[in-house]
Symmetry: C2
Subunit: 324 residues, 2 copies
């Protein structure tokens, strides 16, 4: 049956929100919470009931007054707040990128579902949604074949990416001055400068900035297929880089420099310079991705099981792979 992860996640966020109120004060109406937590009022009512049962609030006629502030023990464990779909996605991407499966290999959905600890239906559901990425293919018999996160895949991905990005960038140049994209681009440029200043300490924030930048450009295409394709890029890069931290700092700094050149060309509306800087950046991204794949594929140190912790223990280094 349907899991109440929506409730639990909203409940946790609701606990945090209780901190904004003083003891004995009214915490506000159900609709306002519905809006704030982005869930239906039905769920808000369930949360309030739980708050009341836990002695956090008390009903006083129509008012709901805060009795005490929440403590750590009030929260649901993080792990219980994940949707099955998200769990499957995470596990599946790990399975793919960790690379126990060879290109062309048939996928046993049932065994995978057991391995991931989800039902066969959930697995099927996920696989159904996945094939648009071109990594999976459906056999006529109904089973699935993993096409492989190969160099070919990366090459083809990058080829289309380059086409789309250049097209979008050139269209960006012809946007009217009052388009909000210009302001966003300007902000992104400033954020690059700020991040470069602190590159030593905060360079991992680059990933989010990178996505923001390229989405900003791709959005200018006003083409749902181009914009949608960036979801694939985003997914692949997101997961891939998560397991390839090698030379991350140098890589990111170089990418930021390229971005700045690129942004400058856009702002000058210099089509030739945009073309050049865009192509240059795409070429770098391609090389990075390819190198990254080889890094995963090569020398799989068999002595080391992949240390997928359910949750990283504190003090544990996040996501390093010592074989690099």
């Amino acid at each position: 049956m349907k899991p109440n992860t929506v409730f639990k996640r909203a409940y946790n966020r609701g606990l945090a929100r209780l901190g904004d109120y003083a003891i004995a004060s009214d915490v506000g109406s159900e609709p306002s919470w519905s809006q704030a937590l982005a869930v239906s009022r039905t769920t808000v009512r369930a949360i309030f009931s739980a708050f009341a049962a836990g002695g956090l609030i008390a009903y006083d006629g129509r008012r709901k007054v805060l009795l005490r502030h929440p403590v750590a023990a009030d929260y649901y464990p993080e792990v219980e707040t994940e949707q099955v779909g998200a769990v499957v996605e995470k596990q599946f991407m790990q399975w793919i990128l960790h690379g126990d499966c060879k290109p062309g290999q048939q996928i046993n959905a049932l065994e995978l579902s057991r391995q991931f600890g989800v039902s066969a239906s959930a697995m099927r559901d996920y696989l159904n949604r996945f094939p648009r990425y071109g990594l999976l293919e459906r056999r006529p018999s109904g089973s699935w074949v993993f096409k492989g996160f190969t160099e070919d895949f990366a090459e083809e991905l990058c080829e289309v990416r380059s086409m789309f990005e250049l097209r979008s960038a050139l269209r960006f140049v012809s946007l009217a001055d009052e388009e909000p994209a210009w302001a966003e681009l300007s902000r992104i440029g400033n954020d690059h400068l700020a991040l470069l200043e602190e590159a030593e300490s905060r360079f991992t924030d680059f990933s989010a900035l990178d996505e923001r930048f390229h989405r900003c450009i791709n959005d200018a295409s006003r083409n749902r297929f181009i914009v949608g394709f960036y979801d694939v890029i985003s997914l692949i890069f997101h997961y891939h880089y998560q397991w390839n931290k090698r030379h991350e700092r140098e890589r990111n700094i170089a990418a930021m420099r390229e971005h700045l050149t690129y942004i400058d060309a856009l702002q000058r509306r210099d089509a030739a310079a945009v073309t050049q800087s865009c192509n240059a950046h795409m070429a770098t991204a391609r090389l990075t991705l390819l190198a990254s794949i080889q890094g995963v594929r090569e020398t799989p140190d068999p002595g080391r099981a992949w240390p997928f912790p359910g949750r990283l223990a504190s003090g544990e280094r996040p996501q390093t792979r010592s074989r690099h």
Copy 2:
């Protein structure tokens, strides 16, 4: 539970195959039938059991001898041989294309499933597979929004199609002589000539030929994203033209002429001519699709003249996008 449509379809094909045998002769082994009907031996055994139960064959030790030839009443109705997925797709595309559904409208999956006479699970399953076409979008709440088969959609589709097709065509030109694609292109060219000869009577066959031609070109890209994108094109065109037979003959003849020019340019490996003929054809295809959409959406005026010339009338600008 799982429907036995595979069995029924194979059974019908098996009945037809029984006609090849003489009364009282051995109809052959299970493996040979498994191969011929492209189903597993398990299914063949089920079919043979049904044949025996229906008095069509009799087991004589290890031999299976034909008792009588099948008659019309032996066949399962065609309708029962369709997979649920196929039924949903057909109904859904029909609903979209002639439908009263407006762009941006929320889709009620449960009601649709009732309307189509399938289970909610099947509907959900289908919707999960569908969104890659960019026509549907998932709301965070889990429901679906129909983005609309609008002119914008068609424009964006055609834009990407043009990019991909040109890229593929230019790569086609650089294929080595011994690549089988050249032979296929040559056959396709001949089939065009043959079809033009009989255009009066067989012009509906053009649809299949058109797909074969463009797939042949797109395959040259050797890029799974480009090749995969043609599935979207194919689906849209397939279903759309099915309900827009207006001016079909003129449309098809014009397209075939353009194809022949295009093919000739490819065979001469003349990149400039390829670029020109490809772009011209893409522009025509775009106009055809747009007109076709308007034909569905607007008052279907059967008397109206075909509003798009096979070749662009002089002075008409190709590929204008009024919103830029």
